[in-house]
């Protein structure tokens, strides 16, 4: 198993992003099993699934967490991606909907033999194309891809997440700074107010005017141009609490800034919420970007043995009728 790396003391150094963690709820597998029996049957299926990217952590938590993507029972519900329904949304729950694709295989052999490198490459390539695409509204930088095989007799579910990623040479010039170094309290409040309404934006450029007010401009609204001479300040909710590293979402944002705006230098504010009104633990990185943006076949999640492999969840205790009868007794 890979061990956490000691803090890199020498700057400049390459930016290293903390990979996503998948968090699939048991109700998701119930729903998949049901669909497999009633809808997909013996077909291999590729469907859209909707998850949420958690951009806030509990103000109680003392633990360091990596960014996570949660899939629940409503993941298959195309009409109501999480967060887009309900009046609860007007209260804002500081979670961003993320859409991914699920490829369900009918046999374990097919699941095993699928070419993962090619798949990851293809996913990253699509991301690259989307990034170059002129229709900015379709700019989706946070994506996941998931392969599954369901052994419905044993109630075993095999799954493997891929979080497609672009690659750009990004260098951190100095140790991370705290948000207090770049924004005063009132400006931090403006950022909180902005995210109350705009959790879905992967990245937002902010300009601080002469009176200290922040003008927010989502990256997808910035016209494609050459901004290689300006030092942008960019907000990215990274869903991570590691003290020195940004989370995976920052990676594709930086690639996008390089690709679309030719950015060579920027200040990235990894916005970290502890509750709705506290972003004091946010991380500020001074980054230089260089060279071309490429699609890389990386992003497969490690399994619980720390290896490149799928995970398996055994729900026989939760699904097998005889077991349920025992529990109920």
């Amino acid at each position: 198993m890979a061990q956490p790396q000691p803090s890199t003391s020498a700057f400049p150094c390459a930016v290293q992003y903390a990979p996503y963690e998948s968090a699939v709820e048991v109700t998701f597998w119930h729903e998949l099993a049901k669909r497999k029996l009633e809808v997909y049957m013996l077909e291999d299926t590729v469907v859209d699934v909707h998850g949420t990217f958690q951009i806030t952590s509990s103000s109680q938590s003392v633990e360091t967490v990596r960014p996570s993507i949660v899939l629940g029972h409503q993941a298959f519900d195309a009409a109501t991606p999480p967060n887009e329904l309900s009046t609860a949304d007007t209260l804002g729950s500081l979670k961003a909907p993320v859409t991914g694709r699920l490829w369900n295989f009918n046999t374990v052999e097919e699941f095993k033999k699928v070419d993962k490198t090619a798949l990851a490459q293809e996913q990253a390539q699509q991301l690259l194309a989307a990034c170059q695409h002129s229709d900015a509204r379709n700019l989706v930088l946070n994506k996941f891809f998931l392969i599954t095989f369901s052994d419905l007799k044993k109630h075993h579910f095999y799954y493997w997440f891929d979080f497609p990623a672009l690659q750009v040479a990004a260098t951190q010039q100095a140790p991370p700074r705290s948000i207090g170094d770049v924004m005063n309290v009132s400006q931090q409040q403006q950022v909180c107010a902005y995210y109350d309404k705009n959790t879905t934006y992967p990245a937002t450029v902010c300009h601080i005017d002469s009176e200290g007010n922040i003008q927010f401009q989502p990256v997808h609204d910035v016209p494609q141009s050459d901004m290689s001479n300006s030092n942008l300040t960019v907000l990215v909710p990274d869903g991570c609490t590691l003290p020195e590293n940004p989370g995976w979402p920052v990676r594709n944002v930086l690639a996008c800034l390089r690709l679309r705006l030719r950015v060579t230098k920027c200040t990235v504010v990894c916005v970290r919420f502890k509750g709705r009104e506290n972003i004091q633990s946010s991380l500020v990185l001074d980054v230089t970007l260089d060279g071309d943006v490429t699609a890389e076949p990386v992003g497969w999640e490690r399994n619980n043995r720390g290896k490149m492999g799928p995970r398996m969840i055994d729900l026989s205790a939760h699904m097998a009728p005889e077991k349920l009868a025992q529990n109920a007794a």
Partner: protein, 309 residues
């Protein structure tokens, strides 16, 4: 099980509470539950409303506000470690004074033989001030290597067969974290578990009700026995039971609500005695603070500057 059936029938016939009895009885109407839930979601955005399975929608609650959830909440210690650290002192009568008085009362009750005199209130593990450094020996826990539960060993496939060492997993921009794991001396490895917490409205008891679903570090569901390791010993088995979630139809651990109203009434009484305004929409904050006594190491959010003081 028999009781649950009886309760199910009784619940069916129990009329929905319509007028507020919060101050007198510590109970809630569905409307008050929704108002309190809205405030919880607003103040603690890790919480959200969910609709659940549409076929199980309760008519006395809005369709999109059937229950509250907070997901993937870390729980990196077992309760046993907490109880070891506070020792085995006898229960001491609380000299209730100041704002914290009722809180300490609650925690004493929950943690059993914990002393609660004076400064030691500060040692009560309200997750907000837990620090790993301050907690003495952490018990190891056992999860079998495959991280699975249930089904006999012969059913467990060899996951190594599926692995692909040639797969490119890192390109220099990937932080090699492995699992973020708390390394303890010797072999006492504590794995961070995750919990999904749900709060439903229990029509029979007219109080909120907490449901727990736990996952180990490999994202396998915890067994009831494992979940009980995260429940204060005074509550495990007695007040925490395995039951079917009313909106999801999946078996969850649940904190049985039979005493919720009387406890809440006591808390509200303490508040008003101390000249505090007991607002019904603060109910869930008080309630979750009390529930923390049952599951003290699950780090869910319930802080609100106003009520928690």
């Amino acid at each position: 099980m028999a009781f649950n059936f009886v309760k199910g029938v009784a619940e069916y016939f129990t009329p929905v509470l319509t007028s507020s009895a919060f101050l007198e009885k510590g109970v809630l109407t569905p409307e008050e539950f929704v108002a309190a839930g809205d405030l919880l979601v607003y103040k603690c955005p890790t919480w959200a409303w969910e609709a659940g399975d549409p076929s199980k929608t309760k008519s006395y609650l809005p369709a999109d506000k059937q229950y509250l959830v907070t997901k993937n909440v870390p729980c990196h210690r077992r309760v046993r470690s907490l109880e070891t650290s506070v020792g085995e002192e006898d229960m001491v009568e609380v000299d209730g004074e100041g704002d914290e008085a009722w809180v300490s009362t609650m925690f004493d009750k929950a943690l059993g033989g914990q002393s609660s005199m004076g400064d030691e209130i500060g040692d009560i593990p309200s997750a907000g001030d837990t620090q790993m450094g301050g907690i003495a020996p952490i018990e190891s826990m056992e999860i079998d290597a495959s991280g699975t539960l249930g089904g006999g060993d012969d059913d467990v496939p060899d996951m190594a067969e599926f692995e692909d060492d040639n797969l490119m997993d890192t390109d220099g921009s990937t932080l090699q974290t492995g699992y973020i794991k708390r390394e303890e001396p010797a072999d006492n490895i504590v794995r961070t578990r995750r919990y999904d917490l749900h709060i439903t409205y229990d029509k029979y008891y007219q109080t909120p009700r907490v449901w727990l679903f736990g996952y180990d570090e490999g994202r396998s569901p915890l067994t009831p026995e494992q979940i009980f390791e995260d429940v204060s010993q005074d509550h495990a088995n007695k007040t925490v039971t395995m039951e079917t979630h009313p909106n999801l139809g999946v078996v969850h651990a649940s904190v049985h609500p039979c005493r919720h109203a009387s406890v809440m009434k006591k808390i509200v009484g303490h508040l008003t005695e101390n000249g505090k305004d007991a607002r019904v929409d603060h109910y869930l904050f008080l309630f979750l603070k009390f529930i923390q006594a049952v599951i003290p190491t699950v780090e869910y959010d319930f802080t609100m500057a106003v009520a928690a003081k």
